[in-house]
Symmetry: C2
Subunit: 428 residues, 2 copies
């Protein structure tokens, strides 16, 4: 049988894993697809670099175009990262009739619709399972496993770095800064952690999940984002005391045909399946109208988990290749996008206020909630041991974002409130 030839763009962590799996599992893989799989050419930054795997020097090139333009290559596996130039490579590869497997969430979140449109035009496959939640096959699950259902809500812990930081803060009662420093030493966080800790990485993944789950074209700009850099150990202590775990959650939900997508630190009630996902693990919780609650858990990053998803996509592309059906099963978002307004977005809120410790304060505060129609689930007032002020901890019932914004705006001008210390979304 004619071997299938693969070109690899990038030989970093994930690329190395891909080579390991394709070579190490060759027998299993070729039994499934009906022919050998050969990694024909690999584009790298530096072909003289010492590597943890042995690669035939003749396969390496420092020019990605050599991979893209090689007429022998059937499938291009892109694990080099990057956005603009990488997009050029991929569009050109598609133009030449090559199929694409990519792990690139940035690219897919920003230019997914353009790339998928080109793929459809050229009858090519573009698979990107590894772009969200590493080793968890969540993209196929949304496309195929729940093709019959109407997905109403997706909640994801889709960034391992921030989950590691929040888990550690919760388990050890230490500060954000201390854990971040440790995570950087361990290699769980980058030297510049902005993209992770400010929620941007999670937002990109949620744009992809929202598009697939709701079959409408969710763009990165549609995702409201708040990171974890302002989460204090005190906030986490309050969360625990009230029976919640603090998690950076991506939340995509829909009501009728209106959707909203956000990423924010969220207090999740203990007992909810996603509340106990700790460390660098990822999990995606999916609520479907028919199927109800489901959750998918696993490693969100790392050489071998991510490579597992990349090679599973490669197997799928090659099976399609053998059957001559590449590009024919692509999911094109077919629903017009309707974003929820701030009046339609509703959730529970946790609010921690520092207030004057005197009579009538609570009445003034609860009056503001009443005025804007926000009803309260619980209110606790307690003295603050250090200052001549009191703390008020409020958990609201579901309230619209519009109403909550007005309440908080009003609080800014209320003289009895010394500080709006924290506000968090509450789930579960």
């Amino acid at each position: 049988m004619k071997p299938v030839k693969v070109g690899l763009l990038g030989l970093g962590t994930v690329g190395t894993g891909v080579v390991r799996i394709v070579e190490g599992h060759q027998e299993d893989l070729s039994s499934q697809v009906g022919s050998p799989i050969i990694i024909e050419k690999i584009a790298v930054k530096n072909s003289d670099k010492t590597r943890s795997i042995t690669v035939d020097k003749h396969k390496l090139t420092e020019d990605p175009w050599e991979v893209i333009r090689d007429p022998e290559i059937d499938v291009v596996v892109e694990v080099m990262g990057g956005i603009d130039l990488t997009k050029e490579y991929i569009l050109e590869a598609l133009d030449r009739g090559k199929h694409i497997v990519t792990a690139n969430k940035d690219l897919m979140a920003l230019h997914g619709s353009e790339i998928l449109a080109k793929a459809q035009e050229k009858q090519c496959d573009v698979f990107y399972e590894a772009s969200v939640a590493g080793g968890i096959p969540i993209i196929r699950t949304l496309i195929e496993g729940f093709s019959s259902d109407r997905i109403l809500k997706i909640m994801g812990i889709v960034n391992g770095t921030t989950n590691y930081i929040l888990s550690k803060m919760s388990q050890e009662g230490v500060s954000y800064e201390a854990v971040l420093e440790e995570a950087q030493k361990l290699g769980y966080a980058e030297a510049d952690p902005t993209s992770d800790v400010e929620g941007l990485d999670a937002a990109r993944k949620m744009a992809i999940l929202g598009t697939l789950g709701f079959r409408t074209n969710v763009e990165l700009k549609d995702v409201s984002v708040r990171g974890i850099s302002q989460v204090s150990k005190e906030d986490i202590a309050y969360a625990k005391r009230l029976g919640y775990e603090m998690k950076l959650l991506g939340i995509a939900d829909r009501e009728d045909d209106h959707v909203s997508i956000s990423v924010q630190p969220t207090m999740v009630r203990k007992g909810h399946p996603i509340a106990s996902v700790n460390g660098v693990f990822n999990a995606v919780y999916v609520y479907g109208e028919a199927v109800g609650e489901t959750m998918f858990y696993g490693a969100g990053a790392g050489e071998m988990p991510t490579a597992t998803s990349v090679v599973a996509d490669l197997v799928a592309v090659i099976k399609n290749l053998k059957l001559g059906v590449n590009g024919l099963k692509a999911i094109v978002p077919y629903k017009p996008k309707k974003l929820k307004s701030d009046e339609q977005i509703a959730f529970k809120n946790f609010i921690l206020l520092h207030v004057d410790d005197k009579a009538g304060v609570l009445a003034k505060i609860t009056q503001v909630f009443a005025e804007f129609g926000v009803s309260l689930e619980s209110v606790v007032q307690q003295p603050n041991e250090l200052n001549p002020e009191a703390e008020i901890i409020i958990v609201t019932h579901n309230a619209s974002k519009a109403s909550m914004d007005k309440v908080l705006q009003h609080f800014e001008g209320l003289d009895v409130i010394r500080k709006i210390k924290s506000v968090y979304r509450v789930e579960g």
Copy 2:
């Protein structure tokens, strides 16, 4: 576009859900497959029965052969259950070139290989996602999501009835008999609960998962089975005290190319993802060489979750139909089956002994473990408050089944042991 015509065998719980989804989500479904989906004919036991959905009377028949033999029908969805006669229907439908979607674990566990062989011969699809773990798309995950990986272990809570019973026993400290009675009243357990509580239902599902995970033909007779009817509330109390939850686990594992598959009540260490799966929920934990730990969680039964999987299969069949590739992606187990011997099967054990309360007893007992090469993780001896005897609680390190059988056999003849009270597998 020409509509796709579906014949339904059975209109019980799951069949009703299938009709609800196909009719209720018609627009979404036809957008995906490119043509309307029509449920053309439905075989029922009693066509005069009052039902919770409105069905055109003319579509009902009491003769399944009418569905099988209708030349208009493209796909047969089998949700009637049963084994021998149902197998005949399905084989005949395949002979007539119809594709099959089934939720029938009994049929697939017992006759899966014969049915799949016939399907391959006739180039037809046979999909059976709903046969294991209801709404959790675990079969596609094993076939496609992890096609690139080498799966080393699958642990499943794949029977909701027994998980409900054990969860309740654990949470409320009540007896097996009391919870079973309650579960029967609530409809979570059948009037004759044998198939569930004795582990047979779980064993059938594990045969299916083992076959897919290890790509070798696991048969029901290869699964060693022990149910939960002998689990006492005391056992569960001991488990909790030692930091475990008692779960009926299906466990399929492999080392090199040797596999073992079993179902048994198992003490799972708290903190393991599967330990916190409670109530009627199902979960399948998959450990892959490359991907590491993953877990998939959701409803294991029920009208709508199970119907979600059935209709997702139907969508997949119809997409294949449009592409003309039915039957071409079938997974045929290609590895020769090698079962682990009792010397190769190894796990940790919990053992509770009632012994004479006198000097030298513990020495005699630990001597037996030493003789057969079983090393111990922990040993606790404590007086029994009610009797002039002591309890010894032992947790072993990994020990071969063969050695443990010899130890237990030896214990039978040891005069200081009054009773081998309980023995459980330990995981996590």
